[in-house]
Symmetry: C2
Subunit: 888 residues, 2 copies
Amino acid sequence: MKSIYSFHEGSASMKELLGGKGANLAEMTNLGLPVPPGFTITTETCNFYLEAGEYPENFPDELGAKLSELENKMGKKLGLSENPLLVSVRSGAKFSMPGMMDTVLNLGLNDETIKGLIKNTGNERFCYDSYRRFVQMFGDVVMGVDHDLFEEAMSELKEKKGVKLDTELTAEDLKELVKSYKKIVPNFPENPLVQMKLAIEAVFNSWNNKRATTYRNLNKIPHDIGTAVNIQAMVFGNMGDDSGTGVAFTRNPATGEKVFYGEFLMNAQGEDVVAGIRTPLYIAELEKNIPEIYKELFSIKDLLENHYRDMQDLEFTIEKGKLFILQTRNGKRTAKASLKIAVDMVAEKLITKEEALLRVNPSQLDNLLHPSVDPSCKYKVLAKGLPASPGAATGKVVFTADDACEWTGKGEKVVLVRKETSPEDIHGMNAALGILTSTGGNTSHAAVVCRGMGKCCVAGAGDIIVSAKDKKFKIGGTEVSEGDTITINGTTGEVILGEVKMTAPSLDEDFTELMSWADEVRVLKIRTNADTPKDARLAREFGAEGIGLCRTEHMFFEEDRIDLVREMIVTKDNPKAIEKALSKLLPIQKEDFIGIFEAMDGLPVTIRLLDPPLHEFLPKINDTEKIAELASQTDLTEKEIISIIDNLHEVNPMLGHRGCRLGIVYPEITAMQARAILEAGIECTKKGIKVIAEIEIPLVCDIKEFIAAKAIIEKVANELKPNFKYKIGTMIELPRACLTADKLAEEVDFMSMGTNDLTQATYGFSRDDSGRFLPRYLELGIIKDDPTATIDQEGVGSLMKMCVKLARQTKDDMEIGICGEHGGDPRSVEFCHQIGLDYVSCSPYRVPIARLAAAQIVLKEKTEEVARRDHGVIKKAASPKYFPAYNR
Amino acid sequence: MKSIYSFHEGSASMKELLGGKGANLAEMTNLGLPVPPGFTITTETCNFYLEAGEYPENFPDELGAKLSELENKMGKKLGLSENPLLVSVRSGAKFSMPGMMDTVLNLGLNDETIKGLIKNTGNERFCYDSYRRFVQMFGDVVMGVDHDLFEEAMSELKEKKGVKLDTELTAEDLKELVKSYKKIVPNFPENPLVQMKLAIEAVFNSWNNKRATTYRNLNKIPHDIGTAVNIQAMVFGNMGDDSGTGVAFTRNPATGEKVFYGEFLMNAQGEDVVAGIRTPLYIAELEKNIPEIYKELFSIKDLLENHYRDMQDLEFTIEKGKLFILQTRNGKRTAKASLKIAVDMVAEKLITKEEALLRVNPSQLDNLLHPSVDPSCKYKVLAKGLPASPGAATGKVVFTADDACEWTGKGEKVVLVRKETSPEDIHGMNAALGILTSTGGNTSHAAVVCRGMGKCCVAGAGDIIVSAKDKKFKIGGTEVSEGDTITINGTTGEVILGEVKMTAPSLDEDFTELMSWADEVRVLKIRTNADTPKDARLAREFGAEGIGLCRTEHMFFEEDRIDLVREMIVTKDNPKAIEKALSKLLPIQKEDFIGIFEAMDGLPVTIRLLDPPLHEFLPKINDTEKIAELASQTDLTEKEIISIIDNLHEVNPMLGHRGCRLGIVYPEITAMQARAILEAGIECTKKGIKVIAEIEIPLVCDIKEFIAAKAIIEKVANELKPNFKYKIGTMIELPRACLTADKLAEEVDFMSMGTNDLTQATYGFSRDDSGRFLPRYLELGIIKDDPTATIDQEGVGSLMKMCVKLARQTKDDMEIGICGEHGGDPRSVEFCHQIGLDYVSCSPYRVPIARLAAAQIVLKEKTEEVARRDHGVIKKAASPKYFPAYNR
């Protein structure tokens, strides 16, 4: 077993053995870059040590040999007082675990070698500062000394010297401090070899410290892969005016522009750049300061970007006029930059279109479609809720939908704060810039409606106590009243007091281009959830290939028709009166559908029949005004209407009289809706519009239920004889529908999975109530991802797979999609592709995300062998298309 | 293909070919009984005819031959005017379909043969009455003439003759009527052979009439098996004083006593006995009238009972001193008789114990355990609801729980009528004799509590509009006020105005004996759902082998502790205050468990931790009195308490913050309950009581959730170090728990399926709200059996099977039971046995039902090859025991 690799012996492909950092240092070394030399102790050695409690037999010899090699390369020697070698000892696992494990810098210093360092640098203060830092770091990290003790010693000294800042301490002061520190670390080893041995062991042991273990749990990193240890010669950017240090990006990480971007400080250490005590210079200044170094750095950045084929974030140090590259990695970037860099690099023929597609994180696209909080700005978070609908909004707080409208009417920007929202709040939600609720989850009314509107929403901020009556909300000790300004960040779930700087949305050619590539790759179709012609047109612009869910009831709430809907409901048990009410609703519904068919000309439109419980449409029982109005509109007394409202009350409306259960008990309603759809389709077809209608029966639990509902529609169809193509299918949103999908498939023409309701039933979580415990569950790690945001593959997903398998056993070309909110979540989109669905449908603003995610999974399947067959699902033939050029 | 079998050519085993009636007539003929001769046209012939539209080729020849044979046997001839043969033509399918298909009697009559009949009978009036009946029946059934026309002709004649009753018409009048009838049936065929051919075809065709098809749909009888046709010589009990007719049972069908039981009329037809115009005589009188006939009949009844090995219901006719047996079948009987006959027949060595067990319908046992409406009495049904808890009760109507207590205190018997009940009504439910609700289903609060109490309940009588405020309820035009007397029948769901005759419950030695046999046979263990020591003791008397579900929260509602529970809830977010409240509750909970452990000494006790949402325990928000009380009990203001109550409101409490979600967010509550259980167990063990405790964590959806809850219990256990055996397991009541049962099995010690909640989640039906559509679904046949009463094997059952399979993959001896209300439903009990569960748990009063059903399925598996392996479930070794004697 070879325990140690010199940098030049490794490569980027050896991450498993050398860790990410070690492999990267090796790669750069072999590229001929000026990397401070060093070697890497393998992860295998770490595992051996952790298991056996000792090093492998030949380890000491190897270490000796590699150290000699390093000493020779550097012309310095560990512990040699004239020309001492100083090294850093750093952890580095296969997967990045930033800050979780230990690091020791400046190892090799002792009372002898300090002299050599002073001689070499000519900077006594720097040397003693380095020395005292080393003693402190070694004491803290390796010897386990309480780091408060160092702070105390420092404070004492500063008091004694009458200074306030560390920087005011002289070389002499620091020398004294080293002595104090050594008293705190009585076992401080002067022998640099002992220092190194202990430091290596400390790094090994830090693999199992609590924060590293927790981090691995959270990030699903295996516990048995161990960390490598990198021992590297120290270089110093603070050895005079011909020294310096900096960080640079190969392109602008904020905009994506192809310009060399970064900053540096001469005669400084890395931490000085970060600490902000001195103001760093733009990288372009380096060209003026030391043109030959700039030139070298410039060509290195080109080399690195070309080599890694991605924008790089690199760290460099100049020691006495010599450039060293300390690190390179793929640079973090904004959504906008991510998109631009990916598209530009394709134009530069640096990467393929496929690679470009994989470079952009679909979730990030959200930021391009909505205003967002400027990532550079600092603010205090007042409370946290669920990030229910992305984007951010700043506005004055209002507590009722009516107030939201009124204030907006007066030109104010408002955020509507509610305990929860209901369909009655729609007008206020429409008026507000954003919505904040204290209960409800990711699929609560507020969340779903806001995503549909592309409006930001923080839902279920459970710590907030909303008092709509008093027009204020409380959070801890803070009270926020009507008119106070808050900012909500729907991308993070943060609630912030006051205003925060925002960045505006932007959709440019890069976006359009990348999307067109995605469309060429993906197999999954992307539809949208849209209830109005306006939403339908918007979604079509975003690339939707049809409507996967048109909720007819959302149309019911509009001003001009809610009265008619109410009339229909209160007269439901009087055949004559309901017939009258329905005859008034019919032409309005028909107009709605005409508008949608026109907007979706040539694309399929799935229209769901009335779904919510009827009481949702009625006025509240204490709303005497509206009740009186309703009484005057019908032959009923106010008392009778109150009694009807009272009788419609349900204990668990989610599990109550809704979905097709309504249309079966009140077949007139289903018949009216079927007539509106079919008459609209007939009229549109006559006008030359291509209508593809899918009539969807919701909440079916049994085939007989479906047959009963279908019969009502077919009776109308037999009468009207439609001149266009239509299907009758069902929403799959109950576990029983999945379990009996083979039976259902005998009768249904298509299936659309309502994964919101399916998740609720499978978990027994109500979207409106889970706010009471779900945040705690996420906090405790009982649930890793909110299942209403990302499909729970283990539970809900297994029902979905069952459904697909059973349904296609009966009908092998059964069209199956999903229309839950998961349709816009990248991981869920990937899962839907993998189990062989035909499409996902999501709110208009999430269509681009779904398009990209659907393309990525195709590419991942090819490159990472994420095989669809692993899911054991029968998928009808659908051979993914690739770009002809894709042939690396 | 042989199309026709003479009776002597068939046997009881040929039901498929000859139909039930034909096979039975054949069997009796071959037993040498005096059955009027005849023959049966096979079901195959029917199917051939229905498919081809014509008879098989050789059919006419066969019919001719069989007819000659019959004519020879009878010494009569079809169509011969001197001595005409008259026959009946009756349908008879494999499965009894009473009244669904057509029958023609007296076939062979025409204007010629009537003369011979008159000569033979000497009773002209009877003959013409028979003739006009034949013409009418033939016209109606065979020729499809509107039967109103016959009524009109009859009315006209009576008016003309100035009489009111049919019986007042003379022979001459009837002769005239025959003429009128023949005008109504102008194509009436005089030729008896044509009559016969048309009658046979009419019977064949009646197989596909609407009511027969509907009946088969409802009773799951295949549509392709066809009916046989029985042609049998007519015999007449009204040919003079040496003729007669009667029905008899081989034992008393009401009591089960072994006495010959029945009644007869001399010189009468069968319909005279039924019509009640003359009063029939007891069968014993026959001995005095015609001793030789009685003797013959007596020996025939013995022969039949011994042959069929069951109590027989037989029909006989005496024609001119000759006895004919027209029919025998297993007699319908009361629950009491069923039990007595089964046990007696074992003593008589007529049947085996196994057969005796299969003879008693487990559902019928309910009638033995509760008072029930006397089946012989007639009453008008006011409304129908769900038969939620069996038995019947008559009492004065009250509308609040408090009124129920008050009236009962004054010595009144009351029925509590509510829209729905809640835990706050418990005291009133306890006081009332029965409960009637207008909403809610078979697992609603009212239903579950009543079954537990053994109290009758009609739930979800949706047509009733209850106004508790006005103290009355309305149903259609009827208004029932406080104090009015009603009767509710929880066995049928009927609501009756006024009082109805009841039969008292009876539990005798027969019952005990049969139950002991059941216990020897069954594999499945039977536990009970009991929350108090009293219920536990009762259930043990009924044969429960442990408690499968002890709902700790039911204890919380008792007078002395609800205040403490409320204190616990309102102080839940204040660690110090809740600790104080819990410390007061702890000793009380502990006492509860001590009582239960004592009652169940040596048997397992499954204790479920707090399950319902907290708001269920709190006063209503407008109950200022109780809120004030609660405020005085705590440091909170009334306003704060109102705000807490308001904040606990949930949109869908069934899917809300309940089950283990409570104990995880408020671990102090779980810890207190664990401490109460464990301390109670320790104390009981010290007293020499054998404690087997199963601590059950409710509503688990994920293994991590279980682990979190278990950790709280184990922390307490580590402190207390219990000296007895206990397990920690979970309730399986969410689809996700079934889908991930393999994972759960890694941690849980036992699983108990809460099939109530599982059914609700799988169907998306709330027990509290399904009353709005479930009755309509049952009516439309969309759902055949209420899934909250009988396990839905297709949907919920497939999740259950999945759970058993997955759990035992991980842990092959995993203890799995069910504790939902299905545990007392015979078909569900059978299913639980078949999928390999260890036990079912049901309310005390249903324990005997479950014991019997569990035995029956073992026997059915042996005799009917209902193989458990069909369900593909791995079942740990459990070879059923049989009686050594069982060796037929």
